[in-house]
């Protein structure tokens, strides 16, 4: 380990960090924007969920490198070629969690909201979605951490990410660079994970003090464990 390599190469470390953060964060965010309405639709129309779930688990089985390669023919060697597959993977994690989160809202709570005169839309926005937040964030944690980690594969098709340090380190037989890439990936994931845990506490003030710490997976049928 050559510690001096880090300050000397700060000017390349920082841009790769930004690129990797972009590739790691944009897909889960797009995924969230898509999976909330899709999840709501799946809860409203029960028959919709089984085919959506099957499709999602089939997509999840696809190797990211293979997907990049398929997309090269259509989107070239740009960021989009990495962002699209990672968004698809995020959807596979997020949709089941949105559905499970919405379904976990207990019937008495729903009835109480209706009895107070809430319309369906208002009940959804003000009662059901907020109560589903812990489970949705649990899914988001998995999606963000996985995307940050998978983004490094983009470098195999030339899309800039922490993968640069791995491939360059291999070519130069220089472990320091590989350590730096690994440490930065885990550090970036850890920071984003902590931000998500923090935002869960902010968004669900009623849960504070109670010791509930939903795991990054949702138990219960059908379990959406990744």
């Amino acid at each position: 380990m050559q510690w001096s390599w880090i300050p000397q190469n700060w000017t390349i470390i920082w841009p790769y960090t930004l690129d990797n953060a972009l590739l790691g964060l944009v897909p889960p965010l797009i995924g969230l924007l898509i999976s909330v309405p899709v999840g709501i639709a799946c809860v409203a129309k029960r028959w919709l969920y089984p085919p959506v779930l099957s499709l999602a688990s089939a997509i999840y089985a696809l190797p990211s490198l293979a997907l990049f390669v398929v997309l090269i023919a259509y989107t070239g060697l740009g960021n989009l070629t990495v962002i699209i597959p990672l968004t698809l993977f995020s959807l596979c994690v997020l949709i089941p969690n949105v559905v499970d989160g919405l379904r976990s809202v207990s019937e008495p709570v729903r009835q109480a909201a209706t009895a107070m005169g809430f319309t369906q839309l208002r009940r959804l926005v003000q009662v059901e979605l907020p109560l589903a937040v812990p489970v949705i964030i649990a899914g988001l944690r998995v999606a963000v951490v996985s995307s940050i980690s998978l983004a490094s594969l983009g470098q195999l098709i030339g899309v800039s990410s922490f993968g640069y340090f791995f491939i360059d380190g291999l070519q130069r037989d220089f472990p320091t660079e590989i350590y730096v890439g690994l440490a930065l990936t885990i550090l970036l994931a850890l920071i984003c994970d902590l931000i998500l845990v923090g935002s869960r506490a902010l968004l669900t003030p009623w849960a504070r003090g109670r010791r509930i710490a939903p795991s990054p997976l949702t138990p219960g049928p059908p379990p959406a464990v990744r």
Partner: protein
Amino acid sequence: MSFLTFAWDWLKSPQQWHGPDGIPTRVLQHLGYSGLSLLIAMLVAVPLGLLIGHYGRGGFVAVNVTNIWRAIPTLGLLILVVVLLGLGVLAWLIPLVVLAIPPILLNTYEGVVGVDPELKDAARGMGMTQWQVLWKVEVPVAVPLIMLGLRTSAIFVVATATIAAEIGVGGLGRYIIDGLAANSYGEVAGGAAVIVVLALLVQLLFTGLRRLVVPAGLRLQARSSR
């Protein structure tokens, strides 16, 4: 100029189906890497998950550590092991095992920890020892989740074994990595298509396997609760 035409043109040429670079050989190599890694990960993660779940301690730590564990980029670990230890069995085995552990561990833990306490009380009331409670009650009830964890890990491993080609071992990733290096998109597309089919088949296999090993009592319960 689409992905499928390129893939089809490459796949239908007979030379891809024979010899040491042929698709059958590459598929067997790929399944060999994946199978061994999954087996070792299972031998580590299932007992550990059972232990943490049975005693109910360390669950919080396990859940959060495994979440960050997912951040470890497989490409980086792969390259690090090669640079440190050289090109051997360990070079692909360590990263793939590391990748496969979190889903199995988390699902086994969640499966055991989620067993109805009344069931466990009843088992103890019947005079079962700790070992019997674990083996005759907790494990059978947790089997659906354990199988789900194995399926997820199997999918991860089969998908990711592709990247092992970057360090020069065999498997289906060879086609993508060599094709990218030689600028022959046909080979890349054909390889990607084979990997996608293999990944989907593995998923199908595990879905079937799950049906087979879930105890009859649980299946009855699932049917009646629907």
